[in-house]
């Protein structure tokens, strides 16, 4: 029996060692570029990227589609030295420090000016760019115009108005606001910080950016929302899926712009979008942005060939980039010139979303923010929002724990 116990405990290490082994490296012919994507939920994305790969004139490109926890898989594959040549990822400072990915500044060339600074920042570490952004994702507050009108509630412009609106929109059969089954802890940490004029990281991107009593005040708003009963919790599909809003389970929902086509198809004109509102006059509206970028594995058999492929697809082929971002679900093309061309983004909520990402965009931590630091923040926010813990004490504890983690990583 103790063997069973010991085996169970020891199970962590073999997982780490074994996960990277089955990458198909042996199977591909030399001269083939191996490219990885995570499994996009939208129909058509996979066949599109396979088509792009087949069109590449110089070499064979082998696309691998990776369902499941893709981000962990990439980390493990990079460690094991058996990863793909080209892969989409949200760049981590750790990878750069450990020489696992190569800079791609030279690929951008004249196109560099066409990428908004905030978008390039998602892939920038110590002043160098490590991935070519493929498409930009953002999240917004979607609301049902008819539900707000019926309740006599104006679209919320401050955090207090948001709490108040959620309360007043709540009915017997539906919640006022849906921000995830965790009560918004996962997706609203950033917007709450930005609403107070703060951020995950400080200006140097080395230390904690929320060592400030205003962070506790902002987090307190999430506690109010959670204790008010106005939040929808335990919905069948989580915040990243538009079902709760479409099915009338909530009058407002924080969700991704990628759902715009489904929401528009279901609700017609009966919806609007808003950025997350400011805490008070010292804060600002905000939306998070994130971008998967095409990165090149430093241990690739032919780094230059891999980079050439990235240049061809993600810098030169603007037609593919536009289709990739806008034909399957709604994402904002990474390049400003392409964003202006997408029909879905020229009018109505789509145009409003583009405006928000231009004026109010923030990185959800970015490459320098570490997962250990994020756990510290998330633990604190859970306790504040879900267990009624003291926001000031919890925020202080998170600042200390996240600060120690950041110091350890960036020393």
């Amino acid at each position: 029996m103790s063997r069973r116990a010991v085996l169970g405990m020891g199970a962590l290490a073999p997982l780490a060692a074994a996960c990277g082994s089955n990458t198909g490296r042996g199977g591909s012919a030399p001269g083939t570029v191996r490219q990885w994507y995570h499994a996009y939920g939208e129909d058509g994305t996979r066949s599109a990227v396979e088509r792009y790969a087949a069109e590449y004139p110089r070499q064979d490109v082998e696309v691998q589609w990776n369902p499941g926890d893709y981000d962990s898989k990439i980390v493990t594959a990079l460690q094991a030295g058996s990863g793909p040549d080209v892969f989409e990822a949200q760049v981590k400072a750790d990878w750069v420090r450990q020489g696992q990915i190569v800079p791609v500044d030279d690929l951008l060339g004249e196109a560099r000016a066409d990428f908004p600074a905030r978008v390039l920042e998602t892939a920038t570490v110590d002043g160098r760019c490590y991935a070519v952004p493929q498409a930009v994702d953002t999240q917004l507050l979607f609301y049902r115009k008819s539900r707000l009108a019926a309740a006599g509630v104006a679209p919320p412009r401050t955090a207090d108005e948001l709490v108040d609106a959620a309360r007043r929109l709540r009915t017997a059969g539906s919640g006022g606001l849906f921000a995830g089954n965790d009560g918004g802890v996962g997706v609203l940490a950033g917007p709450l910080l930005w609403s107070a004029g703060l951020d995950f990281l400080d200006a140097e991107r080395r230390g904690v950016g929320f060592d400030d009593p205003r962070a506790a005040a902002a987090f307190g708003r999430l506690a109010e929302l959670n204790s008010s009963g106005a939040l929808l919790l335990g919905a069948p599909a989580d915040w990243s899926d538009p079902s709760a809003l479409i099915d009338g389970l909530a009058a407002m929902q924080w969700t991704g712009l990628w759902n715009l086509p489904r929401i528009a198809a279901a609700l017609g004109d009966d919806f609007g979008v808003l950025p997350f509102p400011p805490l008070d006059e010292h804060g600002a509206p905000s939306v998070p942005i994130g971008a998967y970028g095409a990165a090149v594995n430093a241990k690739s058999r032919d780094v230059e060939a891999a980079k050439e492929f990235v240049r061809w697809l993600w810098v030169d082929r603007t037609d593919h980039q536009l289709e990739f971002a806008t034909a399957f679900g709604c994402h904002i093309p990474a390049r400003a010139s392409l964003a202006a061309q997408a029909p879905a983004l020229r009018t109505g909520p789509g145009a409003e979303a583009v405006r928000c990402t231009r004026e109010h965009a923030h990185l959800v931590g970015g490459p320098m923010w570490t997962s250990a630091a994020n756990s510290a923040l998330s633990d604190a926010l859970y306790r504040i929002a879900k267990q009624g813990a003291d926001p000031v004490a919890e925020t202080r504890a998170a600042v200390a724990a996240a600060g120690a983690e950041l110091a350890r990583t960036h020393r």
Partner: protein, 298 residues
């Protein structure tokens, strides 16, 4: 003859032993090695840090808190499953009709994937919306929908976690108890009857229970270990790739996020935590086997 015995021994034991060494002891050894290094995003670390990782995990309230929570969880779930399994086994022993049916009905959940069970519990039984099964039932008596997994104050998520775990594991222990019950010699009951023991509690207390001692000890020990190994249904009910709440967080879930989470894999601290946990469970198992005198016969 001797040589042939030895050959047979290795023929039968060899493959198992090789598997155990390769997938059991080598990783444990490697884990112990990693725990002494700054092993972030690497399994071949170079920076030796001594016991720093152990200091870090043992002073980290997230890890020590999860150990405490799960000591509490074990204190609840072990007796609960034990009593439920024993009670069901005693009841099933007496069933005279459709015995095979009743026995398999209780064992079937054990064959169910805990991931599948967790999804059913989460999205169907204990869904927070009005259409969830439990909420529909409560709605009949006029109770508003309850967000079972989303309510931490009071901690209603335990209702979901404990019922899921009970449903999943109780059948296996029922089976162990049933097997043990069937091995109790009938003569003992006849003798007790002749001596005037009252059927029911008196017979159970003085005949059945003492005869079940070895099995009871084994069941208690297995339950304790499985309480500390909690992962599957917890991860699938409360967590996802992005994170897990700080409450009801089993030590293994915490270590999983530390060592293998997306974004940054701290195998040094994760391994240190795994070693600490392994030592604790081994220690608890030793103490328990001493106290319950396991392996010394009934």
């Amino acid at each position: 003859m001797k040589r042939r015995d030895a050959r047979d021994f290795w023929l039968f034991v060899g493959p198992f032993l090789a598997g155990l060494v390769l997938f059991g002891y080598v990783p444990i050894g490697w884990s112990a090695y990693l725990s002494l290094f700054d092993a972030r995003n690497t399994v071949t670390p170079e920076v030796f840090v001594g016991l720093d990782n152990y200091t870090a995990v043992l002073t980290n309230p997230a890890f020590t808190g999860s150990l405490l929570t799960f000591t509490g969880f074990a204190a609840g779930i072990v007796p609960l499953t034990f009593a439920a399994a024993l009670g069901l086994a005693l009841a099933l022993e007496r069933v005279r009709v459709a015995r095979a049916f009743f026995r398999s009905v209780f064992f079937l959940p054990f064959a169910c994937s805990s991931v599948v069970a967790a999804l059913i519990w989460k999205t169907s039984l204990f869904s927070g919306v009005r259409s969830g099964l439990v909420n529909s039932a409560l709605g009949l008596v006029g109770v508003d929908p309850i967000a079972w997994l989303g309510t931490a104050d009071p901690p209603l998520y335990w209702v979901v976690l404990v019922t899921a775990r009970l449903w999943l594991q109780v059948g296996f222990y029922v089976l162990l108890f049933l097997a043990a019950l069937q091995r109790i010699p009938r003569q003992l009951y006849e003798a007790a009857w002749l001596d005037g023991a009252q059927p029911g509690w008196q017979v159970f207390r003085h005949v059945t229970w003492p005869q079940l001692r070895t099995t009871s000890a084994a069941v208690a020990l297995l339950l304790l270990i499985s309480a500390f190994q909690a992962f599957d249904e917890f991860y699938n009910l409360l967590g996802d790739a992005r994170g897990y709440p700080p409450y009801a967080r089993p030590p293994l879930v915490y270590l999983y996020y530390t060592a293998l989470g997306s974004g940054g894999q701290d195998l040094g601290r994760g391994s240190a935590g795994a070693i600490v946990l392994a030592l604790l469970v081994a220690g608890a198992a030793l103490v328990q086997s001493r106290v319950l005198k396991i392996g010394r016969g009934g």
